[in-house]
């Protein structure tokens, strides 16, 4: 039962940590791509 409790706690937190890392990666992706897009626009201008 103790193991089940720890899986419950660690699993719930683990999913959030995984999603948080993916969130940060997505934000970084958006940032990098928007920067490139910006440079392209500037070059075009």
């Amino acid at each position: 039962m103790i193991k089940a409790f720890w899986i419950f706690v660690v699993g719930s937190i683990g999913v959030f940590i995984g999603m948080a890392v993916l969130y940060l990666a997505m934000k970084a992706l958006v940032l990098v791509l928007s920067r490139f897009a910006g440079e392209e626009n500037n070059n075009g201008a």
């Binding site: 419950f8 699993g11 999913v15 940590i17 997505m26 897009a37």
Partner: protein
């Protein structure tokens, strides 16, 4: 001599070996076929599952006899070898538009929120006397993702495969009945009326880069997720790249349809009377409904917590779409939003957590497999 031959012929007839359990299982199989045809309850799965149940309970047919039976071969090479669920994910990836999630990445946390319900159900199942492996297979039903449920159950508790798969697909069909009362219980009228801002446009580059990025991030963190995650994202890359339309089409249509047939029949065929007709199966169905309800509740609660920190408030109902059940739960949220406020279009907003829920369920499954296998 003649007497022996006659008795051998009689005893080799299935009808003389029929048990009450077989007949009850036929009725269950026919009920699923009825629900699939008459009520349109997940017909693509429940129809072959129902038929699989009937043929698995034909005495002496030996369709599930290890090493010999036809359906056993589908089951062994398709499910036990872990081929079919990842192929289904390839098709799902090709069908999925990650645009709503990329437009507002913070919605990813709602997909994580709904997984808390998976772990609550896991703990409750353990309290009710199931083993850790069985409890994990039951808990993952709350992720509302059929292929993931089948994948986890076949790895951790294969004897529960039929019950868990039928519970998962049946309750997915019942999302419009299970979710609204839970959503209403955890939200106020004012919250349900929140109108969300229109999402930004997502570039093609973002769409193409996302599946590669998500594959790297999720599999590096949770290696047991690799079979499902890799195929899911490969399918999505087919779709978004725009250069392999034939592969994308094949993954979405022909391949997905073929593996769905084998998946449904083999899952149904695991439900023979001896393994299914137990009080345990009823408990799994009860816990499956609880799993859906608790995942819905935790998704909504996480949305409410997020609203404490967000400048542009989100409608907490979209947290309920954090259970996968794509796109059914997003549609439920949209309809509820329209009932509260005619100007509220929540469908695309709810699709974000809905898709995030698929990734969340894969991660939750990966944690179970990593810890218990």
């Amino acid at each position: 001599m003649e007497h022996n031959i006659i008795s051998e012929i009689i005893y080799s007839c299935g009808i003389f070996n029929l048990s009450l359990g077989n007949i009850i299982m036929w009725i269950i199989g026919m009920t699923l076929i009825y629900l699939a045809i008459a009520k349109k309850f997940e017909p693509l799965l429940l129809l072959p599952i129902g038929f699989g149940i009937i043929i698995a309970n034909l005495p002496l047919a030996d369709l599930m006899k290890p090493g010999e039976g036809l359906v056993w071969r589908f089951y062994h090479y398709g499910i036990q070898w872990e081929v079919i669920p990842p192929l289904i994910f390839l098709g799902l990836g090709a069908l999925t538009d990650f645009g709503p999630l990329l437009a507002r990445p913070s919605l990813i946390f709602l997909g994580a929120g709904a997984q808390v319900g998976v772990y609550i159900t896991f703990f409750c199942a353990k309290l009710m006397g199931f083993s850790l492996d069985e409890a994990a297979a039951i808990g993952i039903i709350g992720g509302a993702d059929g292929p993931t449920t089948i994948y986890v159950t076949s790895k951790l508790a294969p004897h529960l495969l039929g019950s868990c798969a039928v519970a998962a697909y049946s309750y997915m069909a019942l999302v419009p009945i299970i979710q609204p009362p839970v959503i209403k219980l955890f939200t106020t009228k004012a919250e349900r009326q929140i109108v969300m801002k229109k999402s930004r446009r997502v570039s093609t580059r973002e769409r193409i880069m996302f599946p590669i990025l998500a594959t790297l991030v999720v599999i590096l963190l949770f290696p047991p997720s690799a079979p499902l995650m890799a195929m899911f994202m490969l399918g999505n890359l087919f779709r978004e790249s725009g250069v392999v339309e034939r592969l994308s089409g094949a993954a979405q249509n022909e391949l997905m349809n073929i593996v769905t047939i084998f998946l449904g029949v083999s899952v149904g065929a695991t439900m023979d009377a001896a393994t299914f007709l137990r009080p345990q199966s009823l408990m799994i169905f009860f816990l499956g409904a609880f799993a859906f309800a608790s995942s819905t509740a935790t998704g909504v609660i996480v949305a409410k917590i997020m609203n404490l920190f967000l400048k542009d408030k989100i409608n907490p109902m979209i947290g309920a779409a954090g259970v996968s059940a794509v796109p059914m739960s997003a549609r439920v949220v949209h309809v509820m939003g329209q009932e509260e406020n005619k100007k509220n279009y929540l469908l695309m907003h709810a699709m974000g957590p809905n898709i995030a829920g698929v990734i969340g369920t894969i991660i939750a499954a990966s944690i179970f497999i990593g810890v218990l296998k």
